[in-house]
Structures are given as structure tokens and as C-alpha cells.
Subunit: 195 residues, 2 copies
């Protein structure tokens, strides 16, 4: 039996932090609770991270990074007509993996002006970049191309707000309705440009 | 000198709560802090409200109600081409009045499943209704009319996410860029339908 590598052990702490934030909320996510979730000693956390604020910041960066890389992979190989249903599946993963709940807890726990708040804005900018690259596939070369940056901002703000509401009520009908409409809307717009 | 009426006194507590949430954040918004902001004795709070959770719930309802009534008044008399600039001014009021900051602090402080979280969803539904009535002015009688409900959901989620980001960094360039684009977009779409 071999010991886990340093980076495997670090990932295990990050995964346990996401799970604990999602199940117990920000205030109850103590080193002890994270260790209990992950099945390791609390000392393991302090071997990899300076303190809880450092761990929370790393967790936000990590879960955002994981999801951005998953979105990028899936969306790069998705043809435009299938984008809405791809986004629906990705969002379902975001929810079931605990990502949405963990991010919402971290955003709620981020005091204004704290390093964690600054990291939320860094991650928001990364998601905006991803949205811009997807929107460019639709709108590049059309008269709407110039709107891509601001539409990316709007898409990211929309996604963040949707997460907030999903997190508060655990209700998926709202996001389902949005993805349904997106599918229909894409079909209508495609028909419009074809005609 | 006459005493303020019961409802004036209650409003004074609600106003002081908004101001305290905006300036000090959820965790520091104690009865003592609210009383200090408003210049009244802490006992005044308990004359009008059962406890702090009751006060927070009432504050969310009150500030949301104030802003919805202001949005409704302004938007009802705004012609479609001037909507974007009206929305920009309204959002500037939301920010400068402390409404955005107070709502964000209350959303962040609302534990999942709490009465406060339930009230956030009630208020979100009210804002959705307002958005639907504005969108109907644009899209009523067009092939896009059926999308009004889901677009209202999207608009409300977008607005909530925009608030979250504004609150975290106090940066208005993001919302300004959105309102700029909205103005240009409205002009383009209007030209499109005219031609």
C-alpha cells in the first residue's frame, strides 16, 4: 500500500471542504468538521493550508477551476444546436457535486474587502472569459459581436444569481425552465437566420 | 412637539436596519448597533418586532417593497426607448440608498430553510413579476411573447448576481457597461424591427 501523493492528499482536503460547506454551511465548516467528512486528522489540513481562510480561498479556486475545465472540455466539442442541453447537464453536475452549494456558502461568508471576496471576483472574471468564448461562436462575425464582452458579464451575473436562488430553495424547476427556453430560443433564432 | 406615529417609528427602525446592514454587515447588525444608527433606544426595536430574525425578515420585505414601488412608478411612465437609462438611474439609487448592500447582507445571512431564505424567494418572485410586466411592453404580440415568464426569471437572476458582484467590489463599471449595452442594444433592435 502506498501513501497518497502530496497533491492527492491536498485534493482530498479540498474535496472534503466542498462537501462540508455544501452539507453544513459556512459557519459550521470548521477544521474538525472537514476532517470528519474526509476521514483524516485535522492536522492534515494545517499541513497543506495555513489556516481556514487560506483553505476557503483555495477551495473556491479549486472547485471553480474543476468546473471551468469541465465546461471548457464539454462545450468545445458541442455543436451550437446542442449547447442548451449541454449547459443543462453541466448545471445539473454543478448542483449534484456540491459545487453550487459550496460556492454560495463561500460567497455568503466572504466579508467585503476580504481576500475571499477578491477571489470571488477573480473567479467571476474567469467564468466571464469562458462565457465570452462560447458567445463568440454564436455572434462572431454578426452585428452583435461587439456585445460579446457585456453579454458575457450578463451571463455570468445571471448564472451567479441562479445559483443563489437554487441554493436557497433547492428547486430545479427554475433552472429547467431557463434551459427549456434556451433550447426553444436557439431553435427560433436559428430558424430566423436560416430564412 | 408631537410623537411620531407607530408606523413612522416602525419605519425608522427599518431604515436604521438597512443602514446598519449596509455599513456594518450582517454579523455586526445587533439591536444595539441598529439603535445607535437610528438614534433611539434598543427597546424601541422590541416594541415593534419580536426579535432580530423577525426584524430582518421585515426589513427585507420593506426595502424590497419600497424599491419595487419606485421601479413600478418610474417604469410605468417611461417610454420604451428611455427604459435603459431609467434602469441605470434606478440601479444607482439601489446602490446609493444602501438597498443593494442590505439585501446582499440579508441573503448572505439567510440560512437555507430559514424563514429569511423563504422571504428572499418571495421577494424574488415579486421582482420577477415586475420584470414580466416590463418585458410584456416590449414583447407582447410578438413571437417572443411566450418567453416573457422565463426572461423575467433570467432578468431577476441576472439582477441578483449583479448585486452580488457590485456588493463585493463596490465597482460600478460592470453595471454601467451593462446599461450602456442595453441602450445600444435597444436602439439596434428598434432599428431592426423598423426596417
Amino acid at each position: 500500500m502506498s501513501l497518497p501523493s502530496r497533491s492527492e492528499a491536498r485534493d482530498r482536503v479540498l474535496r472534503a471542504t466542498v462537501a462540508t460547506l455544501a452539507s453544513s454551511g459556512f459557519a459550521a465548516t470548521t477544521a474538525r468538521a472537514i476532517a470528519a467528512t474526509g476521514g483524516f486528522a485535522p492536522g492534515v489540513i494545517y499541513y497543506h493550508f495555513e489556516d481556514l481562510p487560506d483553505l476557503f480561498l483555495a477551495t473556491l479556486r479549486w472547485t471553480s477551476e474543476q468546473r471551468i475545465s469541465r465546461y471548457s472540455d464539454v462545450l468545445a466539442s458541442t455543436p451550437v444546436p446542442a449547447l442548451a442541453s449541454a449547459l443543462r447537464s453541466l448545471y445539473a453536475e454543478d448542483t449534484s457535486s456540491g459545487h453550487v452549494a459550496a460556492v454560495q456558502e463561500l460567497v455568503a461568508g466572504a466579508a467585503r474587502g476580504s481576500p475571499l471576496a477578491a477571489q470571488v471576483l477573480v473567479e467571476a472574471a474567469r467564468w466571464e472569459e469562458l462565457a465570452a468564448s462560447v458567445l463568440t461562436r454564436f455572434l462572431g462575425g454578426t452585428p452583435f459581436e461587439g456585445f460579446v464582452p457585456v453579454m458575457a458579464t450578463a451571463a455570468m451575473a445571471f448564472y451567479l444569481g441562479l445559483e443563489t436562488l437554487s441554493h436557497l430553495d433547492g428547486d430545479r424547476t427554475r433552472s429547467d425552465a431557463v434551459f427549456d427556453a434556451m433550447e426553444q430560443g436557439f431553435a427560433m433564432v436559428a430558424g430566423f437566420f436560416d430564412s
